[in-house]
Symmetry: C2
């Protein structure tokens, strides 16, 4: 604690200016001075104060990130990917959770702005309620939305191409012989839910398939389970169920299993995300893999392009995902695309 560049300069017998120059190398100093300063710094254990540097330079080398919840494996994966990208450029991540609450989200935005982050990456929790705070923040600092976005298209966004995703999912089950397909997802509180439903409807229409009215609840295991039960109760089962995320799919699978329905023989099930437990549930889940690493890279890249106050059309980047076929859907192609993709990370 507390050895400053003044101490280093004194120990080396030079001025603070020379010390700073010797250490940063931004202007030349005699080799001898450089040597003395560097040794003094090493001996004293000098560690430049990033706070002072930030104040002077008007840049903190810090990016703020806000996601609805870190308990959710999908967001976790994005956070991890973003952290990874930032490390490449020596920046650090200031992480916050909005707990799916617009008010908390707005507060977090404010503290991050007060901390003078160099940029913001956010997945706004609510399509409408998040809008004012997000737009306001975007006026102060480069801001990129990931996955979810706010209405109006006022800020840059990076996400998955939901149309492509749902088309792949629907085409896959149709190729497997399905003639009736149900979509089980979340109510339309956020952009993802909206886009996925739209993508599903587009894909089924194009495939000329009967799509029964979608079941919309929450992006949770519990809702998946409940939806599964109501499918069992409500008469003839569809040939396939496409889910808005993997949690729903897993809950649904469990309900079907308890109901004695065989998957994929009687009903095919497709999830969305391929994050966390999709590969290890039973049977392993066919799902659409979110291109998380690419999304993070793209978000960080975009962040570097935004110039605050310089009006510019908001960018929207949708990355095409890939369907990962496992065992909850019938394989029809000769060449399998089966992937496991479980990296097996260490725990505890």
């Amino acid at each position: 604690m507390g050895v400053t560049i003044h101490d280093v300069a004194r120990a080396a017998g030079v001025s603070v200016a020379s010390a700073s120059r010797a250490l940063s190398g931004r202007r030349k100093v005699t080799p001898e001075v450089a040597e003395r300063v560097k040794r003094a710094a090493a001996e004293l254990g000098y560690r430049p104060n990033a706070v002072a540097k930030a104040l002077r330079d008007q840049t903190t080398g810090t990016i703020g990130m806000i996601v609805p919840g870190i308990g959710n494996p999908f967001f976790t994966t994005i956070v991890e990917a973003v952290e990874h990208q930032l490390q490449e450029t020596g920046r650090d991540l200031l992480l916050c959770a909005s707990l799916y609450t617009p008010e908390i989200e707005a507060r977090r935005l404010n503290t991050l702005l007060a901390r003078r982050v160099d940029g913001l990456i956010i997945s706004p929790c609510d399509f409408e309620a998040s809008a004012p705070a997000v737009l306001n923040a975007a006026r102060q600092v480069p801001l990129v939305q990931v996955d979810r976005y706010i209405e109006g298209g006022g800020a840059d966004w990076v996400g998955v191409d939901d149309d492509s995703a749902l088309a792949q999912a629907v085409d896959h089950v149709v190729a497997g012989g399905a003639r009736s397909v149900v979509f089980v997802s979340s109510r339309l509180m956020n952009s993802s839910a909206r886009l996925r439903l739209a993508g599903f409807q587009l894909a089924t229409a194009r495939a000329g398939i009967v799509s029964r009215s979608p079941l919309l609840g929450e992006f949770t295991l519990a809702w998946g389970f409940e939806a599964g039960r109501s499918l069992l109760a409500d008469g003839p089962l569809p040939d396939a169920v496409v889910c808005g995320n993997d949690e729903i799919a897993v809950g649904l699978l469990r309900a079907l299993r308890l109901g004695g329905v065989r998957v994929p023989e009687e009903v095919a099930v497709v999830g969305f995300d391929d994050v966390g437990h999709a590969a290890m549930c039973d049977p392993p889940l066919t799902t659409v893999r979110q291109p998380v690493e690419e999304m993070a890279a793209e978000a960080v890249r975009l962040l570097g392009q935004v110039r605050v106050g310089e009006p510019r059309a908001a960018q929207r980047i949708a990355i095409a995902p890939r369907l990962v076929v496992r065992e909850t859907s019938r394989l029809v192609t000769g060449g399998t695309m089966t992937g496991d993709g479980q990296e097996g990370e260490e725990t505890t």
Copy 2:
């Protein structure tokens, strides 16, 4: 961007001192001045610069946290809990991942120290290699280890009581009739692996049980699967398998299922962590639940007690966990302790 307290003072027609005082309320000003200043601040959209405040106050209101990986649900859960605790006191979390690599970990420690975090919470990735950097950091700033710790006991630690955990696991399967028990875990690279093995050995000895030699690999699904296969291959199966974490347990379950072994009828399986997918694998896993929220609260509390440079015996706080009985072990008690504990969080 860039309205400072000087701007506010000028707009209100007072000095910066008065403006600061009116806004912070740390000294009295005439109601009239207070009113003028507050209105000016609101009109200009003044947002105090936290960087300048940090420089002046020598405190950033930021806690640094380093975990081996955020991809891992166990660490994610701790991060979430710590973030939650910090919010209570208005502090923010600067999050880093060491990627299970001591060198990266040391670098992250350095940048966090340079950013003058007010404290550090770390789960050191290596029992030995992490020690120098962690001890050095602990000399500069309050530091608390969570879950994993470094050799020598030189820094505070909060974690689970592994002896109690393993005793509960072993006693449970023994009560269910098991006479031979195998421990499948990670090689002893980190403290958790060491303590859990020790706890297991203590518990089996006390129960007078035959414990075959433990299988030690990694804390991964893949290793659990491999261990399960070798159990199947190596002759008579044990009555029960206790695992070092849930990933291992899930991998093992899958190997046993493929081998046609019924769980829990032929072999009982117990995991460790109860985080992520334990409740939703098939059959739902009996496991020891880590008291994550308590650990986080305790870590944050400890952080507040540490005074750097004030020599003090390192604290070690081991919180007793609770066994959550699900379906991979036989129930023997009349009153079941079955818990599900799946909160069902939103995704995407």
